[in-house]
């Protein structure tokens, strides 16, 4: 069994990560790490004691500690898309434990909250032995999702338009994710000015979908544009097959749910 480490500061945590590398698993809420990582490593590092559970709102946007739980998102964040995503993560006990930081590292098809964060163009901040490092969540995923320190904070600007999250699941509550989609669309004189689209459960991690965004920008949010965006998102997806759904089904649901989300935005 892994030795349990409890750092008392960010510096100490960063030092432990640097010292133990891939033989160390980080445990925040524990809902993912205790199952998928801790049984296979020599060291488990519990970070609950470091706090990191503050939610700060400013006119410019939102700063979320990596330890903010699904319950806190549901109770204290008036952003319906994030609340919807958090509400779909497990049952109430799991929501009291699972953190937003953990969701970013969740195994696919999990990661519904991270999918919304991508559509909000969030940044992630890591505390490393060389100090703080901030990068776009999208870049973090694109560069292989390798953390060189402790994820401490997620920041997002106020959504640049209407933000909608939809999850395809098999049951109303506590459903495994088939796929999830998040879309943030800003309309300018009836035309799409900016579009930020993300899909979850459709690849190795939640991903931005540039082709679907390009299919919308500069066009009216009508049926033709919406269908084109859905097709592009399905084409860009490379989902897996598991006991919940097949690759074939997931790919079709990406198009179906993205179109549904965009129609919801078009209807206002």
């Amino acid at each position: 069994m892994a030795e349990y480490l409890r750092p008392s500061s960010l510096e100490e945590a960063a030092g432990m990560i640097a010292a133990h590398g891939s033989t160390l698993a980080i445990v925040a809420g524990g809902t993912s790490a205790m199952r998928f990582a801790v049984p296979y490593v020599a060291y488990a590092m519990g970070v609950r004691g470091l706090g990191m559970n503050e939610i700060e709102r400013s006119s410019g946007g939102l700063s979320l500690g990596a330890g903010v739980t699904m319950r806190q998102i549901r109770d204290s964040l008036p952003i319906p898309a994030l609340q919807d995503a958090a509400r779909g993560v497990g049952g109430p006990a799991l929501q009291n434990m699972a953190t937003i930081g953990g969701n970013i590292f969740a195994h696919p098809p999990n990661g519904d909250v991270a999918t919304v964060l991508l559509a909000m163009d969030a940044t992630v901040t890591f505390f490393t032995t060389n100090g703080e490092r901030t990068q776009k969540l999208e870049e973090f995923y694109d560069s292989g999702a390798q953390a060189d320190g402790l994820l401490t904070r997620i920041d997002c600007a106020a959504p640049g338009g209407e933000l909608v999250f939809l999850k395809c699941g098999r049951q109303r509550f506590n459903s495994r994710t088939v796929i999830s989609v998040a879309a943030c669309i800003g309309l300018d004189n009836g035309k799409v000015g900016n579009a930020c689209i993300a899909v979850g459960g459709a690849g190795a991690h939640p991903m931005r979908c540039a082709a679907a965004e390009q299919a919308l920008i500069g066009r009216a949010l009508d049926d033709a544009a919406i269908t084109a965006a859905g097709d592009e998102a399905a084409r860009a997806s490379s989902p897996g097959t598991d006991a919940v759904a097949s690759e074939w089904y997931r790919r079709r649901m990406v198009a179906t749910y993205l179109c549904r989300a965009l129609r919801q935005i078009a209807a206002g």
Partner: protein, 161 residues
């Protein structure tokens, strides 16, 4: 391996556990302290049979390292019925046939207690959502939901008197 002492209060009693390796709260409650209402169902957070209340919050003890509850108050089903009589909730479970094999029942009752602490008058939908993390393979859930509705109605009646 460096070991340390974890101090917790379980159902009102102070306990100490010496541990250095990852040890789950479930393991400590069930195997060290003999609180056998804490069931070992799936060991991966999927079934809710190990649900306990930590500092007033519902948690899955199978995914909680005991080191993370150092200094906390833990309540198991045993702690909800210290007089060892039949509680009002247990009576409703009997009346509505809400327990069959009984394996999920402790987790269900702990989850229901956590729900009613947050919301004394939940709707049927809110009850279903609050129990969504607890799996029962016998009852089909309806008798359990009806038992909760029944105790909510009874509590409202008492409050209204």
């Amino acid at each position: 391996m460096a070991s340390g002492i974890v101090s917790i209060k379980v159902n009102g009693r102070a306990e100490e556990v010496v541990t250095g390796a990852v040890t789950t709260l479930q393991d400590v409650l069930r195997n060290n302290l003999d609180y056998t209402s804490v069931k070992d169902g799936c060991s991966q957070g999927g079934c809710g049979a190990c649900s306990v209340i930590v500092d007033g919050e519902l948690r899955l003890s199978c995914l909680t390292p005991v080191q993370e509850v150092d200094g906390s108050e833990v309540v198991t089903l045993e702690g909800l019925n210290l007089s060892n009589s039949i509680t009002a909730l247990q009576q409703k479970f009997i009346e509505k046939y809400a327990a069959q094999c009984g394996f999920c029942t402790p987790g269900m009752m702990v989850a229901i207690t956590a729900l009613l602490d947050r919301n004394a008058n939940p709707s049927r939908d809110e009850i279903a959502e609050a129990l969504a993390g607890n799996i029962c393979r016998c009852t089909g859930y309806l008798p359990i939901i009806e038992a909760v509705e029944s105790i909510v109605a009874e509590m409202a009646g008492i409050a209204g008197d």
